[in-house]
């Protein structure tokens, strides 16, 4: 359904210099499946989602690659064709629902706007559709007269979902939809997304920095680091056999109920900002497994286990047992 091929997204600074934000990103997503894109803040997760929707800011653009949606390269479509695609074929749920909703417009007007702009429905037909939508996202009808600030965070996120699903898209991109919510509400929203995915048989790209959430919801997980895809595998495979030292570090730094008290947590030292993006492996400055080759060349993405891709010289050079012991 969706195929991203060698996508490079770059930013132009005031002096006209171009810096890549996402480099050679490729992935495939089949209809009805969920792909989770995981990575630290600033790794390019959101930027690549915006590029799918054609919503990149003016100084950021796709400099290379293709985005094939049902076989068509959507980067070559005209503005009008692209606009028709958004909402009807693919929709985006933003991270912060409060800032994504218009504070001076009621929920009813938000929902009506979608139908007025994109369909030929009469007012009463649109209102009937809205009733059905609210039922699906489990919101009461009384919410229609409320303004965004009058409803809770979870309810706002449900309204965002209703807006995204109004035109029954085939692809839903959820950009950290649960980050600002507490655990209980987080779970409710996740279950709702899963339920709606089944109802509409749509594909979902779930962007998050929470690995546990990614495992819960996704069929396949893709790990991004500093704009590079460094690992990709089925969710269960990635959890049982993380190959890249960064992925392993992320798993190890998760606090669970069984994390022993009093022992310092596992840390990945430094931040992506400190790492040089131009030569060698992007993770080299924070990695404990570096060798000379990591400073000279960018590691290629290779299939190190069946359907499990990883870009790391160290992971490639050692066998699985030594790899687990070494990590």
């Amino acid at each position: 359904m969706l195929e991203v091929k060698n996508l490079t997204i770059s930013i132009k600074n005031k002096k006209g210099k171009i810096f890549p934000l996402v480099k050679n990103l490729s992935y495939k997503l089949e209809g009805g499946k969920t792909l989770a894109i995981v990575g630290e803040s600033g790794c390019g997760k959101t930027i690549q989602a915006l590029s799918l929707m054609g919503l990149l800011p003016p100084n950021i653009s796709v400099t290379q690659g293709q985005i094939l949606f049902e076989g068509k390269n959507i980067l070559q479509l005209s503005k009008k064709e692209r606009r028709n695609l958004n909402g009807k074929e693919m929709a985006l749920v933003f991270q912060d629902a409060l800032t994504a909703l218009n504070p001076v417009v009621t929920i009813r007007e938000h929902l009506l706007e979608v139908f007025a702009a994109r369909t030929d429905l009469y007012l009463d037909e649109a209102e009937e559709e809205i009733k059905k939508l609210l039922e699906q996202v489990e919101l009461p009808q009384s919410i229609l007269s409320s303004y965004p600030h009058q409803i809770s965070g979870g309810q706002r996120q449900r309204v965002m979902l209703a807006l995204a699903l109004a035109l029954k898209p085939k692809l839903l991109i959820a950009d950290e939809p649960t980050t600002a919510l507490d655990v209980n509400t987080q779970e409710q929203i996740l279950k709702l997304i899963q339920k709606l995915q089944k109802t509409y048989k749509m594909a979902v790209i779930f962007i998050t920095h929470d690995l546990i959430l990614a495992k819960e919801i996704a069929d396949k997980i893709l790990v991004l680091y500093s704009g590079n895809k460094i690992e990709e595998a089925q969710a269960n495979e990635l959890f049982s056999n993380p190959l890249h030292p960064y992925t392993y570090g992320l798993f190890k730094s998760i606090i669970t109920k069984d994390t022993p008290k009093g022992i310092p947590l596992f840390e990945i030292y430094g931040s992506p900002r400190g790492s040089s993006r131009f030569y060698g492996c992007p993770f080299k400055n924070r990695c404990k497994k570096t060798s000379r080759v990591c400073f000279k060349f960018v590691p290629p993405l290779e299939e190190l286990r069946p359907h499990h891709y990883c870009a790391c010289f160290w992971a490639k050079s050692v066998d699985s047992q030594r790899r687990l012991n070494g990590l």
């Binding site: 600033g42 980050t179 929470d210 690995l211 730094s253 109920k257 994390t259 008290k261 310092p264 947590l265």
Partner: protein
């Protein structure tokens, strides 16, 4: 033991009035909250959004007034202590806010941000004090001249921690300090907080909705549900 008590809340009640077109509705946010925190200990306050965690925090910091009940800060009743003395007691509290992006003034340099607690509390300080505070949270003296937007989320939270610790407080209140951060940065910040607590022996009131994190970090956990506080030891969970 009594002299070691940093914070004591007794029967704190708070009600908000919600105006609607037809009538005024009373919403009871806190229904008699009791809580005690000793020096060097960590207490977690846990509960879903809207349960009254932030109201409790505001009441402790004097930003909201309780309807009834007693708050004792370092043994002093906040309602009966003269303002000047209360202000002195308040300077022994450091706060780390949830969102590292909005907690720092974008128009101030890190030097100005870190010196503000000294200026407000009319205490002397040198540049060396500020550099020392930054180094303790693994930042360098060159960062003093920078502005908040030049730092990542994790680094900004480190600056928040440095500011909260700069007056050597006896009580730190951390309001979901890691919820806006990535997993890897979360581990760095949690380790930093534990290290600092060991060094300065401050009491830590940790507000969060992450149960696993509270269990790892805190000896006791208070869960807030519909305005009622229930205390449990961390091992009970």
């Amino acid at each position: 033991m009594a002299c070691n008590t940093v914070l004591e809340l007794r029967e704190i009640k708070k009600t908000y009035l919600k105006d609607s077109l037809l009538h005024k509705q009373k919403i009871e946010v806190l229904k008699g909250a009791n809580l005690t925190l000793q020096q060097g200990r960590t207490l977690a306050l846990i509960g879903p959004s809207g349960c009254g965690k932030t109201t409790l925090l505001k009441i402790i910091l004097g930003l909201e007034k309780q309807d009834s009940g007693v708050i004792k800060l370092f043994g002093k009743d906040t309602l009966q202590t003269p303002k000047k003395e209360l202000r002195k007691a308040m300077s022994k509290i450091g706060v780390i806010f949830q969102d590292p992006y909005s907690a720092l003034d974008p128009r101030q340099t890190i030097e100005q941000i870190l010196s503000e607690p000294f200026i407000i509390n009319k205490r002397p300080y040198t540049k060396q004090t500020l550099i020392h505070a930054l180094k303790e949270v693994s930042l360098s003296e060159f960062d003093l001249k920078k502005y908040p937007h030049q730092f990542s989320g994790g680094q900004r939270q480190r600056i928040n921690i440095a500011r909260a610790l700069i007056l050597k407080p006896e009580l730190i209140i951390a309001d979901e300090p890691t919820s806006a951060l990535d997993v890897s940065v979360q581990a760095q910040i949690v380790n930093l907080l534990t290290r600092m607590q060991k060094k300065y022996n401050f009491a830590l009131l940790f507000i969060s909705h992450n149960l696993a994190l509270c269990k790892y970090l805190c000896q006791n956990i208070v869960s807030v549900k519909q305005g009622i506080l229930t205390e449990k030891s961390g091992d009970e969970l």
